[in-house]
């Protein structure tokens, strides 16, 4: 599997390098769908320029990156393009390895279930064969690398974070890093924990002491590394200015620059009296689904991770297409759910149409002056609805497959005729 992966990496790097050289790079790095005030490259350069002028980058309202990023790019300024291409490649390789690992897990579980005779006979078509699963990691890597959204984000030099899991400590560290960068990956703490518990065969039972022991250990590692990162940032710049500038900014949404999310127009048109209330509602909305989803999906932490990443990408305060590409990279892992998906055609058409319409309506509003902000806002709404439909569709398909695996594929009603399955 190494050779196709290497080939894929070479192709991806070539595409990105080619795009960097053209004038499209400048154009793409200005687009609001791709960059947000949190992760625009222009703002990183501005932050470094302010640092050169002996002014704290957080004294103004232009720079909202964490101090680690400043220091990283202080040294890597000239190699920025290579850094981003490398980051993309590393993410792809990490995803490849992670999915491979996961596939092994799934296959093992399946084998046990088959041997334990828990699956009804007619479900054999639902079983996943090794051959089909062989190519999934490659497909995942391909999806990630060749997704136009990823390419475009790389070219725009977004500083999106990504999550890699391996050992417990490493995963805690990387999770802390991702949470440090933007607060939302905090919700990924739970699925990561569940995944690690599953790997160590610790059952998720609140009454078992081993569960609590491991949980506390993991939380301790996570919080510890987060604390270390924050204190390190304090010592890098010598002040706590970065806390309101980075986290306060993400949570209180003062900057209303249009993007592909729901927050900007909502808070541009909000009555002042209700602003705080709706801000709290929208921010809670991102974190709110963690607990119910983890309870429902405690046996399937990787799907839970996928759901979480997707929900974060839809409901966060400054989403970009880079966030989208990350969860879309996971879609090949759930290839086997295809037969149960109900809305996939509609969703893919809407997503394609919206991707095409975003730049058009932006141009009409900002440059041509013949449309107004409502047009762009409408497409953001459609885009969000399409993503929500995609996520809930995959969730439905997943749950349905699980139901079939336990209850049989061809179900019959009491009188023997073919039954339909509904959610009640």
């Amino acid at each position: 599997m190494a050779a196709p992966l290497a080939l894929l990496l070479i192709v991806a790097v070539t595409i990105r390098a080619a795009l960097f050289r053209t004038s499209l790079a400048n154009l793409i790095s200005e687009r609001v769908e791709v960059v947000s005030p949190l992760n625009a490259w222009k703002r990183v350069v501005e932050g470094l320029a302010l640092l050169d002028l002996d002014i704290s980058p957080y004294s103004g309202d232009v720079f909202h990156e964490t101090p680690m990023v400043i220091y990283l790019f202080h040294f890597l300024m000239d190699y920025a393009e290579i850094t981003f291409m490398l980051a993309d490649c590393l993410t792809a390789v990490a995803l490849y390895l992670a999915v491979k690992d996961y596939n092994k897990q799934v296959f093992r579980k399946q084998k046990f279930a088959l041997e334990a005779d828990r699956i009804p006979m007619d479900c054999l078509e639902l079983i996943r064969s090794p051959t089909e699963m062989y190519y999934i990691p490659l497909k995942v890597a391909m999806f990630y690398l060749l997704n136009p959204f990823t390419i475009v984000s790389c070219v725009a030099k977004c500083t999106c974070g990504c999550l890699i899991y391996g050992s417990a400590l490493l995963s805690a560290i990387f999770l802390a890093l991702a949470t440090y960068q933007s607060i939302y990956p905090l919700t990924l703490c739970v699925p990561a924990l569940l995944y690690l518990l599953q790997r160590l065969y610790i059952p998720v039972n609140v009454r078992r002491s081993s569960f609590w022991f491991y949980t506390l250990q993991y939380l301790f590692m996570f919080l510890g590394s987060l604390l270390v990162l924050i204190c390190l940032s304090f010592f890098l710049l010598g002040s706590w200015d970065f806390l309101p500038a980075v986290y306060g900014f993400i949570l209180s949404v003062p900057d209303l620059t249009p993007n592909i999310g729901l927050f900007w127009y909502f808070f541009a048109e909000m009555f002042d009296h209700f602003r705080l209330f709706f801000l709290c509602v929208f921010q809670i909305n991102v974190f709110f689904y963690t607990l119910p989803l983890s309870i429902k999906l405690k046996e399937h932490p990787v799907f839970l991770i996928f759901m979480q990443i997707a929900l974060i990408a839809i409901f966060k305060s400054y989403p970009t297409v880079g966030d989208l590409s990350l969860y879309m990279a996971f879609l090949p892992v759930w290839n086997h759910l295809y037969r149960f998906l109900r809305n996939i055609f509609l969703v893919s058409c809407v997503l394609l149409a919206c991707s095409a319409l975003f730049p058009v309506l932006w141009h009409l509003w900002i440059y041509a002056g013949s449309a107004n902000s409502n047009f762009y806002y409408a497409i953001t709404l459609l885009f969000s609805v399409a993503q929500i439909l995609l996520v809930s569709d995959y969730f439905y398909a997943f749950l349905r497959r699980e139901h079939h695996l336990t209850n049989g594929l061809y179900l019959k009603k009491k009188d023997g005729s073919e039954a339909t399955l509904v959610l009640k």
């Binding site: 103004g60 209303l256 729901l262 541009a268 119910p292 969000s384 969730f395 209850n407 009640k424």
Partner: protein
């Protein structure tokens, strides 16, 4: 009892009359014909008061100095106050340099005394009080348009202050000047608008001009060359330029009556000096009537100019008709006007509502001398400047400023402040460019006509310009008021301040009719997400059993009551 009281009041009045007056009032009018055929009139009214505002002595007896301003100065511990209201933009290349420059709109800058503990709070109160005194909307001055310059705007009066935390500067480029601002301004004059030069200040003519600027400057000055005692000086200035075609009917023939629809009949009785100066340097075929024997020369703006003087305190000036109506007539001079040494322009480049660039051009027309200038720009927070895109170039080459003070803006709190010391090469154009991004504001933050755009206040360029003629450094000599406004420390250069054009920038606007719709639609999308996930989380898959007919259902209900097994 009554006799004793009468005696007390009589001795008090006697004492007042015996005291020498502590204040002095001078008025003057300078009329300068411009090269383009327009005419420039500059009024200055100066009251010098020997009261010590900075000491503990409570001042309560006001004579010539207006009480409203005196109370403001004592209450807010103001050291210097400069406020101007301007309508129109001064065209330096056509008209030359003004005696007192001012930016379009309202401008206010104040030096507080170092006894003030909370400068921001005092500033806020001061702007509100001044807004009431001048009937202007100065209450719109808040932290989002106030800056603290670090090098420009040194005190114009005495005092060697270096702590710039006591200085505040704000402009309101959108402010309109009208009769309502002129009336309270005239009320501050000792003679009001009843006698002296202020009878000429009639609003129907003054506001029918290309340029109109009225200002109030309060500063402490020295009384004697050794500066042992200080006194407070109040200067009220009014600059107006009448256009050749709209007011002058196309003829280079101006008179006081044509300009102001009034003539002068007497000097202000409270004034110690009341003079009218007419600039006769430029055109030798000048026709000025009634003729006056008095001629004086003064060095102003780096040039030695000749003036005909009419002294209104002399009855002879008014002639037999008891009124003075000067008539000036001149022919169009051939050739170019003498180019002013320092000149600047500013404009916004770029297209669309997302980003743009501000270009400031500074011209140095001196043939062989280079001199440094201080450029101050205060840009509102909703135009996010990117300081890493700042480029300064002269004659095509990069020109690094020797001093940059940049304070980045904070959203909804303070504006950008950029101050630079630039060295201008001789006979060159220096271009300062900086990119910005336009922000989307909350719908309540837009002005009533949002598509008109947002104003960016003028940039200020302060410089010591090399002078051809030796400047007069002796500040206590009896000089015309118009030549003694800016302090002169050295002979080889004079201080000049140039204001650029204000900018009008469009911002992207949301749809103002849609708040309720937007809230509903976005909440609907969030609810769609919530609903789908709620469904999938709380419901399980079940085989769909068809529901029995209506009769069977009723029968089942009855059976349930009876405790009998259902159908």
């Amino acid at each position: 009892m009554a006799i004793r009281r009468l005696k007390h009041t009589r001795t008090h009045a006697h004492a007042c009359m015996l005291q020498t007056p502590l204040d002095d009032f001078q008025e003057e009018l300078v009329i300068r014909p411009l090269h383009s055929g327009d005419i420039y009139a500059s009024f200055q009214f100066r009251t010098v008061w020997d009261a010590d505002f900075m000491g503990d002595q409570k001042v309560s007896h006001y004579r010539l100095f207006p009480k409203s301003l005196g109370q403001v100065i004592t209450k807010f511990s103001v050291r210097e106050l400069h406020i101007s209201f301007t309508q129109g933009y001064w065209r330096t290349m056509q008209w030359g340099q003004p005696y007192l420059p001012s930016p379009p709109g309202a401008e206010l800058w104040v030096w507080f005394q170092d006894t003030v503990t909370d400068v921001d709070g005092t500033w806020k109160e001061l702007t509100n009080v001044l807004s009431g005194i001048f009937c202007a909307s100065l209450n719109f001055i808040d932290s989002t348009n106030t800056v603290q310059p670090s090098a420009s705007f040194k005190p114009l009066g005495i005092g060697n202050v270096t702590d710039h935390s006591f200085l505040r500067y704000a402009t309101l480029p959108r402010e309109i000047v009208c009769t309502e601002n002129l009336t309270p301004w005239k009320k501050l004059l000792p003679c009001g608008s009843k006698a002296g030069l202020s009878v000429l200040l009639k609003s129907e003519k003054l506001f029918h001009s290309t340029f109109h600027s009225q200002a109030v400057h309060v500063r402490p000055v020295c009384q004697d060359p050794q500066c042992r005692t200080t006194s407070m000086e109040l200067r009220q200035t009014l600059n107006v330029v009448f256009d050749l075609h709209t007011s002058g009917q196309g003829k280079r023939e101006w008179s006081l009556f044509k300009m102001f629809s009034r003539t002068l009949t007497e000097a202000c009785p409270l004034a110690s000096s009341s003079k009218v100066y007419v600039d006769v340097t430029d055109n030798p075929q000048f026709e000025l009537s009634p003729a006056t024997p008095l001629l004086t020369q003064a060095v102003v703006l780096g040039d030695r100019r000749t003036y005909s003087v009419y002294d209104l305190t002399q009855q002879a000036s008014f002639g037999s008709s008891r009124s003075l109506n000067m008539l000036l007539r001149w022919k169009a001079a051939d050739g170019e006007m003498l180019r002013p040494l320092l000149h600047s322009e500013r404009y916004v480049a770029g297209y669309g509502l997302q980003a743009g660039e501000i270009h400031t051009l500074i011209y140095n027309h001196h043939p062989y001398r280079a001199f440094p200038v201080l450029l101050l720009s205060a840009v509102p927070w909703y135009l996010r400047l990117y300081i890493h895109t700042l480029t300064v170039s002269s004659k095509g080459k990069d020109n690094r400023p020797s001093y940059i003070h940049y304070q980045p803006s904070k959203d909804r709190e303070r504006p950008h402040l950029l101050e630079m010391l630039l060295q201008l090469p001789p006979n060159s154009v220096t271009e300062v460019t900086v990119e910005f991004e336009r922000a989307l504001l909350k719908w309540t933050e837009y002005t009533p006509d949002p598509n008109h755009g947002f104003y960016v206040g003028s940039s200020v360029i302060s410089a010591l310009v090399p002078s051809v003629v030796a400047m007069d450094t002796n500040s206590t000599l009896d000089r015309p008021l118009f030549s003694s406004f800016f302090p002169c420390k050295e002979e080889a250069s004079y201080f000049m301040r140039v204001y650029t054009e204000p900018l009008l920038v469009n911002l992207p606007t949301p749809d103002f009719s849609m708040p309720y719709n937007v809230i509903c639609l976005t909440c609907t999308v969030v609810a769609v997400g919530y609903g789908s996930l709620y469904n999938l989380l709380t419901r399980t898959f079940q085989v769909d059993e068809p529901s029995p007919g209506l009769a069977k259902r009723i029968a089942n209900v009855i059976r349930r009551f009876r405790g009998v097994p259902l159908l």
